[in-house]
Amino acid sequence: MSLLHLAIIAPLLYAILVPLFYKSFRQIHTGWFVLPLPIILFAYFFSYISTTRHQAIVMETLNWIPSMGINFTAKVDGLGLLFALLITGIGSLVILYSIYYLSKTKEKLNTFYTYLLLFMGAMLGVVLSDNLIVMYAFWELTSFSSFLLIGYWYQREKSRYGAQKSMIITVFGGLAMLGGIILLHLMTGSFSITEIIAQAHDIVNHSLFIPALLCVLLGAFTKSAQFPFHIWLPDAMEAPTPVSAYLHSATMVKAGIYLVARLTPVFAVDGLWVWLVAGFGIVTLFWGSFSAVKQTDLKSILAFSTVSQLGLIMSLLGVGAAALHFPGVEDNLYIVATTAAVFHLINHATFKGSLFMVAGIVDHETGTRDIRKLGGLMHFMPITFTIAIIGTFSMAGLPPFNGFLSKEMFFTGMLHVLELDLFNFQSVAILFPIIAWIASVFTFIYSMMLVFKTFTGKHQPEKLDKKPHEAPIGMLISPTILASLVIIIFFFSNSLLSENIIEPALAAIFPGLLTEGTGFMVHIDIWHGFKPELFMTLGVIAFGILLYLTYPKWRKIYKLFPDKLALNRLYDGILERAQNGSNRLTNSYMTGSIRSYLVYIFTFFIIILATSLFVKNAFKLDTSKVSSIGIYELLLALFIVIGAISTVFAKTRLASILLLGAVGYMVSLFYVLFRAPDLALTQLVIETVSVALFLVCFYHLPKLRKEDSRVRFKLMNALISVGVGIMVTLIALSAHSNKFFQSISQYYIENTYTEAAGKNMVNVILVDFRGFDTLFEITVLAIASLGIYGMIRLRLTRGDEE
């Protein structure tokens, strides 16, 4: 295990200690103990930048299941490192923020930080694993920790609902992704992403390629809340705000983005990938921004805004994937789209993180997040207001904030679609820049609403639970850092990010495009002249302000979508039907009657055996190898048959017990005839003890009543039992006639004396060769006797009455 592996699982290990800290030091907020870990990890991963900026890749392998090609291979390249830095960096800030947000006396901090660390470790595992199966395991772990964190306030019904919804949707996608991974393995024979990428061109015409592509995309789209799977994200806002800032805007929801970026070299060979990723991305972008405008809850606005921004990044990745179809990097038109995606990923984490924290502060200090109740907070919380201005203006794409830069690049990328002459894109290409522009207008509107409805306008103290005041300084540190980053990135994007982060990330996304000695040259311009992008931005601002001011006039448009939660209704409906349906289905056959179960079992027994005998043409009767029939054996067989049949017609309990005993004794005689002395002895003694046992119980046993005499009932029983009997006979005959391999008994016969120094083979097999069987057998016996003892002696319910 290398230091890198340790760094990935450090949060998981550290999570074990959290409850101890919580118990031992109740006076100190548990968050202070947790905080150092992400900071150390951030510093550790930061040191990798010097490696990755030279396009070097660090790989460490820890064998797990080598025979199946499943190993914990940690790989640090530009893309993984970018995410690792986001996870640990934002993680540090969120934990710092949460220390002030969550009360140390009222909340169960031990569980909160345990879950949070669980998530952090899982997320690091997702982005730093080169093995797809390991990545999948971590991927599901992020879903689980997200479930636990959304349901943190599990007393609230909405929390539980949101937690369940996110779990169902993301785990469903995760399972689809697992299917995709397995399909990839079938095609390439490897789980390693590096190796699969190397084989990308060989598998593109494979019949499983498209199913694998769809399965993987399903996983990515559900995780990254792409339309129509975005419905879980708004409900996930029931989580504590630090969690929303961390999982549901900066990191976990970007796991899908990560997956798409990571597997672009594998799948983008096919045009379908470009179509789907770009198409779903742009639709999500529009629908998210459109829906965000009508929300009244601060966090809901942010949730839909996140959905829309994720769509934006997704569509950029889709368009960027087209770059693989053009040689070289120098004048490749579509690389700019991928660059914008990576760049916006960082920017989104900074401004959206700070905005979530602002929403948390407003909620914390006023007691509500409803923008209809808020207003005029500017005077009470000037610092928060400043941060909010920076965050929202960046989100709206205004200078001098980093959102402006990536928004301009986004427009550039979308305009390049017009020139894309692959995969029949020409026909609809014009839609991409148009939808992008419209969505940007809506983005502008909800950004303005977010800040101005909250901080300006009329103050309504009568609607607030608390008297608003500025947040404590500790709570402001994290959003201030993020907001400063928003501005710093705008001015120093090239020196800070281009070479260190973005270029290595691009190299990881497009490994095939680079030839020896070349590299991606990313240069982000603040001012790039009077180009179409600039006019588009100006148009966004003009229309945005116009529509913002006239919002009350056109808000009716949302009434046009009467069931605004149509997708949610669909989800609820499916869930309810699935529950009712499976309930009905289960109740229909799980009647609780032993008889019905036995009927199922025996019927299936007959059908399955008969079918396989018939289909495989397995029935065979070979009389050449049978042994001779002796007169004693024949008589004995006759007696057994008579005895067995008589039990059916026995009128009294004594008769049936004795008949059973008689059959048992005759079976032991058979053992004598068939040269099985051990069996004969055992059977004799067992039969004696059993009959004694039956007789001990005899007086307490019920009298044999006359059986239910309905003919249909009897007929059905008779039919089933005759079927079972015939099937067993047929199987016995075929098994006797077909011998496909040598009996393994020869080994025992030869080695009984040499290996175990015994002469009685049966006994040697029991105590030596197959000792495990015997060991478990006597264990079962002991359990049975304890069960009997318990049933007789312990009368837990009736004991008091008697």
């Binding site: 002895l681 004696t688 175990a756 120094a757 009685n760 006994n763 049975a784």
Partner: protein, 141 residues
């Protein structure tokens, strides 16, 4: 159980009992070479005790043989597991048995097996289980 007045059964059992028990012990030890072993030996011993139960009532038998059969089951399991796990001490797989031949005065050469210890565990469990079952049912009135 019921009190009884069957003199013939009582008298016969006093003699037969020891023969059966002795035979069962023999059959247990013979198991490695001839028909027999822990299962049969154990069952036969319990058969003898059941016979005793039929002749006398359960309280008398409990005074003659003051054995807690559940403890006996436990000890038997411990024997079986202990013998199996003992092989781990010698760095061989679980359940590996060893055997050896030893010269003993008077008796001559005899062979010793750890497998017999395992079988002893089986014997004890079988007796313990059978008797637990019969005793619990018999006592429940």
């Amino acid at each position: 159980m019921r009190s009884n007045n069957n003199i013939i059964l009582e008298t016969t059992i006093k003699v037969v009992l020891f023969i059966i028990v002795l035979f069962s012990v023999y059959i247990f030890f013979a198991g490695h070479y001839y028909p027999g072993g822990g299962f049969i030996g154990g069952l036969m011993t319990s058969g003898a005790i059941v016979l005793l139960l039929i002749a006398y009532d359960i309280k008398t038998v409990a005074t003659i043989l003051p054995v807690n059969y559940r403890t006996m089951t436990g000890i038997g399991l411990l024997f079986a597991i202990g013998t199996s796990a003992g092989s781990l001490l010698f760095n061989v797989p679980f359940l590996t048995h060893a055997f050896g031949h030893i010269e003993v005065p008077v008796l001559g050469e005899i062979s010793l097996h750890t497998a017999t210890l395992f079988d002893l565990g089986v014997y004890l469990v079988v007796v313990g289980v059978t008797m637990t079952i019969i005793q619990t049912i018999g006592e429940d009135e």
